[in-house]
């Protein structure tokens, strides 16, 4: 009995080590942002455009990574949410005469709110109903974008979307706009980094891993599930708000259901649940085909096949493969078993 420590008395506490491990994600994000600021200097208009498109896509994939990778919810409307953001920003900055920053904020808020409204009925029933509701929603948005010509321009889309002017700086040139995209992407990635490290992130992970146990620990499953979905959708809205001025012309086709599937595959390819996964996923999905010069449909088949192969061999995606390699290298000299993050799926 004597070796049983008292519960209420002072207990020698083990060494705190919250900040012991340096945060690799944070360092990678900051270094990558600096690199991306300078890299496209000699790349020309098209090369810079592809890099910007990569980052914009990565923002949408980041949001989906939160919804799917961290909270384990299937959303099949990420491209539709991106469409809402893109059309909202395009309309507000052209017909509305608004500046980009408020249009960006409104796009995010709007998609967040729509996410809440959409997620509420679906998640009341069962988590996988969200897949079907978002599937239906995706089709509905596509119909609206195509049919409401007076507002969206129908199949002809909206053109002459202005690039933003911030604090008196015109961001018209491809390099200036690219750097602007880098900054916005960094801010959004840092916000997500913070979110994932906060108790919210822990709760999201808990509801993916074991909702029954999470509920018994007082975690409000419905609130957290809704929030994960709405925040993930808001990131699609933010991505859309950047996409519109990047391409300067939008039509309904990049926001169709198949685009949502494609974004989901990017999450998985990069590594579902890994914070840097979306950048790798978007790299494979957006940048690689541009450099390989493989035509659209054929590349889609190739990409989908790669994802299926990855899902069979390593469901943790490219990040998972990298991590496996890294631990294999580190394990050899040290001989120690490091805690490895398992499949996020």
């Amino acid at each position: 009995m004597s070796d049983i420590p008292s519960f209420t008395g002072n207990v020698p506490s083990p060494a705190r080590s919250f900040w012991r491990r340096t945060d690799g994600v944070l360092i990678t994000l900051l270094v990558a942002a600096v690199l991306l600021w300078f890299v496209p200097a000699g790349m020309g208009r098209y090369g810079t455009y592809v890099l910007s498109l990569w980052l914009v896509t990565a923002i949408a994939v980041m949001g989906l990574n939160l919804t799917l990778g961290l909270a384990g919810l299937k959303s099949l409307a990420q491209a539709a949410f991106m469409g809402i953001g893109a059309y909202a920003t395009a309309l507000l900055t052209t017909k509305g005469g608004m500046g980009w920053l408020p249009a960006f904020a409104i796009s995010g808020l709007l998609t967040f709110a729509v996410g809440l409204v959409l997620g509420f009925p679906a998640l009341r029933v069962k988590a996988h109903y969200l897949a079907f509701v978002t599937l239906a929603f995706s089709t509905l948005i596509w119909l609206v974008l195509r049919n409401e010509q007076w507002l969206t321009g129908g199949v002809f889309g909206l053109s002459n979307i202005p690039r933003p002017t911030l604090f008196g700086m015109k961001l018209d040139g491809h390099l200036a706009f690219h750097r602007f995209v880098v900054v916005v992407t960094l801010i959004l990635a840092l916000a997500l980094w913070w979110l994932i490290r906060s108790p919210w992130g822990r709760a999201f992970l808990a509801l993916r891993e074991n909702p029954v146990r999470a509920a018994s620990l007082g975690i409000n499953i419905r609130n957290y599930t809704l929030l994960a979905f709405a925040i993930g959708s808001a990131y699609a809205g933010f991505a859309g708000a950047l996409y519109a001025p990047l391409v300067e012309f939008i039509d309904p086709s990049p926001f169709a259901l198949s685009a949502s599937f494609f974004l989901l595959l990017m999450v998985v390819a990069g590594g579902s649940g890994y914070q840097l996964g979306p950048f790798i996923g978007a790299l494979l999905g957006v940048v690689l085909p541009e450099y390989l010069r493989v035509t659209g449909g054929l590349y889609l088949i190739l990409f989908a096949a790669i994802v299926v192969a990855l899902l069979i061999a390593c469901p943790q995606g490219i990040m998972g493969l990298l991590e496996r390699g890294w631990t294999a290298i580190r394990r050899r000299p040290a001989g120690r078993n490091l805690p490895v993050k398992e499949s996020a799926l």
Partner: protein, 292 residues
């Protein structure tokens, strides 16, 4: 009124086809937890395969139809189960669902790049005659579709409830653990549902393609309606999926006629949301008890 009945019958015909897809969808869901997001593409592809055999191999239509359907069932019944479902299911439901999305993309883009991006006419089993009956003109083709689909579904229902193999299949779906102890070859039963699913999809494909033409992108709408039918009818029932399919088909047909052609798709979507809000277990589904 005459017009209304014509729309109703057209709706029942397409609805019967959605029901075929929805039944296959619920079958594989029940036996293997596979949410097949490529279900619509499963209905799209057989017709394309048959046309490809006719065009590229010069086979006569009847031979191409037999070969195409057999090939499809082999590839997307047996092959799908072996190459995608079996290795993936150990990782959980979610990776498998995502793999079916990837499969949907592969099938769709494959049909587009490998065959044609244009809609192709598909020969009908019956001449496209219309019968006039008391001032109502009824397409013979629609009637034939309803009859063929009903016979197929009736046959399936008879198989599942009246035959030994069918009952074993049901047992394997409801409780694989117990079924295994009782000596039921669960793995073979699960495989059987995948073959049946592919067969139903092929039948749906052959029935629907004469009306809507064979096109690579057909799967999107068919898949969506099959999901809606399955949920509206109740996720865990064959008769639920049948009723759901018919309801969705009729609503779609009436919406196209009386609401707006550009928003006809939206009406079943609204129905889906209403069902989820009001009766989430579906019209014919049983409420599932939360289990710990």
């Amino acid at each position: 009124m005459a017009e209304f009945i014509a729309y109703l019958i057209a709706g029942l015909a397409t609805g019967a086809i959605y029901a075929l897809a929805a039944i296959g969808f619920t079958l594989v869901w029940q036996t293997s937890q596979t949410i097949n997001f490529a279900q619509g593409e499963f209905v799209m592809l057989p017709a394309i395969l048959i046309l490809a055999l006719v065009k590229l191999a010069g086979a006569p239509f009847w031979l191409a139809a037999v070969l195409g359907v057999a090939l499809f069932i082999a590839l997307f019944g047996w092959g799908f189960k072996i190459t995608i479902v079996d290795p993936m299911i150990r990782h959980g439901v979610l990776p498998l669902a995502i793999a079916t999305m990837a499969l949907a993309i592969i099938m769709k883009e494959g049909a587009k790049d490998g065959f044609s991006a244009e809609a192709q006419s598909f020969p009908s089993l019956l001449p496209a005659q219309t019968l006039s009956f008391m001032g109502i003109s009824i397409s013979l083709q629609h009637i034939a579709i309803i009859v063929v689909a009903c016979v197929a579904i009736g046959g399936l229902q008879w198989f599942v409830t009246r035959t030994r193999t069918g009952r074993q299949m049901q047992a394997a779906a409801q409780n694989p653990g117990v079924a295994l102890i009782l000596g039921i070859p669960v793995a073979r039963m699960v495989m059987l549902t995948f073959l049946i699913n592919a067969g139903l999809a092929a039948l749906a494909s052959v029935l629907i393609s004469p009306i809507y033409l064979a096109k690579f992108s057909n799967g999107e709408v068919i898949g969506l309606f099959a999901f809606i039918a399955a949920i509206v009818g109740g996720f865990n029932q064959v008769r639920g999926a049948l009723a759901g399919g018919l309801i969705v088909g009729v609503i779609d047909s009436l919406a196209a006629a009386y609401v707006s052609t550009s928003y006809r798709l939206a009406v079943p979507l609204v129905l889906l949301v209403i069902i989820i809000l009001v009766k989430p277990e579906g019209l014919f589904g049983r409420k599932e008890e939360r289990r710990v």
